[in-house]
Amino acid sequence: MLPLNYAILNRYRVADPADVDMVMSALEPDYGRFRSFRRHLVIESLMTAKENGLLDESDYNVGDDGELHIYYTLTDYGKDILNKYIP
């Protein structure tokens, strides 16, 4: 089992682009009981990864739930980092 932060980034290897809710619903079965598995914390993780060039924003919109949904995609640099650190 990967640490939560690794799993969030690793999700983009299989589902790209994805927003926070897509990532969370995919990780829910394994990480749902984690105290740090919260929407605002996962958003912060994604924004940090974007700030450091691992992810890029591909689109954003306001969903039917009235929440902002930002879709991220893995950059080439992000792919290199994941291949190097999370084989």
Binding site: L54, N61, L68
Partner: protein
């Protein structure tokens, strides 16, 4: 308002909130660094430490300067690691802490901790003991080193505007150093202390840049637990024995370590300094990962002001120790540093453009 406009406004609010949080975290890291510096200095002047540093301690000069410096750093980081484990336990991150230890980013974190802990922190404490608070601004050269390494290793942006901001922060640092130098003795011990402080600057430059990047992958609270645990144990179990061996009496190592860890009057303040060290480093890592190494380290580097400031406030004003006064030039330098940080963080042209858009 169309859906697109609404989404754009919400997105900008989120981006602004993220940026403000990163900046706040990075600035708080510098402030807690100042508090950690003040309390560790006080801890190392209390209880058995007062005897060790006293004229009748019977310890050689090498032991007093180098071994006690590493020991103080080790006790502080070990206390900080205990705090980090408590915080990780409360937040339910102990499982992830163990999982991270077995991964490559975990190993990178351990190497960073060894560079920033036993090497840089011990150099910092030794320099602080040898030359006083004059060395604090010198060690704050690490933002420049971190920003340059961030550019080379991780392709982080470093524009001429950001370089100008870093240069301004360095000028402010030199102003504080120069003012302290004028009031200092200028003895060979003080000069040696200043040189040792450069080792700390280099070590932290490497650590801040690499560990800041590591916390993109590793949760910052797990990162700091790895850092403090590695640093504390490496200092107490490796550095102190090596230094006592060099000083010619390895038997001193367990004796000094056990005495330090069981000395109530100083341990109370090590527990406090360890608490502030936890936030000084964890917020430094988090700030660097949220803002990039250049801005994160410049904000953290403001500890060159916060260090002498809290030494004056805590040691001078609260505990009544003499010699911690803050010269007026330090306040001027603090303002300069603030301008420098703003220059790294914000592009004035972007601000003007944004205002024009809002007016339109």
């Amino acid at each position: 308002m169309s859906e697109n406009q609404n989404a754009a406004i919400l997105k900008r609010k989120l981006d602004d909130r993220f940026f403000r949080k990163g900046l706040t975290v990075a600035i708080l890291s510098g402030m807690t660094y100042g508090l950690y510096s003040a309390f560790i200095t006080y801890a190392m002047s209390n209880g058995v430490w007062a005897d060790w540093y006293g004229a009748k301690s019977g310890l050689s000069a090498v032991v007093v300067i180098y071994v006690l410096g590493a020991l103080g750093s080790g006790v502080n980081d070990t206390m900080s690691a205990v705090w980090a484990l408590i915080v990780a336990g409360i937040k339910g991150k102990l499982g992830d802490f163990l999982r991270c230890l077995k991964t490559r980013p975990g190993a990178v974190m351990i190497v960073c901790a060894l560079i920033g802990g036993p090497i840089a922190s011990a150099a910092y404490i030794i320099a602080l003991q040898m030359a006083g608070s004059i060395i604090i601004p010198i060690t704050a050269l690490c933002p420049a080193i971190g920003a340059i390494l961030g550019r080379i290793l991780f392709k982080q942006p470093l524009s001429p505007r950001m370089i100008a901001g870093i240069a301004l922060c360095l000028c402010a640092t030199l102003m504080i150093s120069a003012s302290a130098g004028m009031s200092g003795s200028g003895s060979s011990t003080q000069i040696a202390g200043i040189l040792i402080a450069f080792i700390a600057a280099l070590g932290w430059g490497i650590e801040g840049c690499v560990a800041g990047f590591g916390t993109i992958v590793i949760d910052y609270e797990i990162g700091i637990t790895i850092r403090q645990l590695t640093s504390g144990l490496a200092n107490l179990l490796i550095m102190v024995p090596i230094m006592t061996l060099i000083a010619g009496n390895i038997a001193l190592s367990p004796e000094l370590t056990l005495t330090a860890l069981t000395d109530g009057p100083s341990m109370i303040f090590f527990i406090i300094s360890g608490f502030f060290a936890l936030f000084a480093y964890s917020l430094w890592y988090k700030g660097n990962s949220m803002c990039g190494a250049a801005l994160g380290m410049a904000c953290n580097g403001a500890y060159s002001f916060w260090g002498p400031f809290f030494c004056w406030l805590v040691l001078g004003c609260i505990f009544g120790q003499e010699g911690w006064g803050l010269r007026p030039i330090a306040w001027v330098a603090a303002v300069l540093m603030f301008v420098g940080i703003l220059l790294i963080a914000l592009n004035p042209l972007t601000l003007f453009k944004r205002n024009e858009k809002e007016v339109a």
